[in-house]
Symmetry: C2
Amino acid sequence: MPKRLTHEGAECPVARAVDVIGDRWSLLIVRDAFDGISRFSEFQRNLGLAKNILSSRLRELVAHEILEVLPAADGSAYHEYALTQKGRDLFAILVSLRQWGEGHLFDEAEPHSVLLDVKTKRPLRKLEVADAAGRILEPSEAFVRKVD
Amino acid sequence: MPKRLTHEGAECPVARAVDVIGDRWSLLIVRDAFDGISRFSEFQRNLGLAKNILSSRLRELVAHEILEVLPAADGSAYHEYALTQKGRDLFAILVSLRQWGEGHLFDEAEPHSVLLDVKTKRPLRKLEVADAAGRILEPSEAFVRKVD
DNA sequence: CCGTATCCATTCCGATACTG
DNA sequence: CAGTATCGGAATGGATACGG
């Protein structure tokens, strides 16, 4: 019986993270949540995904405490989905995905959306990996160590 | 006819990026490549995934120019997989995934691997989203603008 | 050692119909 | 509007067998 194996017991944090948000919809739902989307139909219309898939993904995100269900701000009978702190902490991941996509997945002059600073209306700084002192590191300047 | 829809034509760079690397294996293959893995069997043994899936994912990564095939350094008949510049630029994404996983997906004192600076042996700085001047931004301080 | 090919179960996902 | 239920096709993925 072939059972899908998960990485939830992995010692590598990347593997666990991929296990939680490494599919084709979860991060896009989170992206929309950052943009203020909170209702089922808004997600559905905005993303264009099937409702059963959206329902399933929302349940998973709530189970992982990335989203939480709130009792509806406008008095309507239905609830809303909002980011938790754990969900808001995905911000750097979304920004790094965005910057990589902007740099490598669009032709010159092809239209794409950009992320701007509210105050200055200027593009954000490029995310760079740095050491404790703030010096930018190349991939070869970092290494993985297992801890116990 | 239900056909899987893609985001390759999307104007949102996050959506395009998810389309390319948003599955359960691609980023883990890239992570291993950063660790110096270059041979088919090494990936396979290290990740524990089925060979047909690995084969398929490697082909896709090469097609997207994230990996490239090199003619084998040690003189053997087979080739090696190496990161391109586009692939190395995924570094910030992997580090942000790692840091989120470290912070939210492990119990206290549960063993996990860490990423250290080669020189100082100290943990890396936490990746933070910042404006052009370097000021750290909350998610609410950034907004998306469509450009044409 | 490096893959490809095939089989089969599971999962994903879109489409549609339906309920409150 | 906010979902749930169900269907069928497509993709995922593990296991195994096979060929270079």
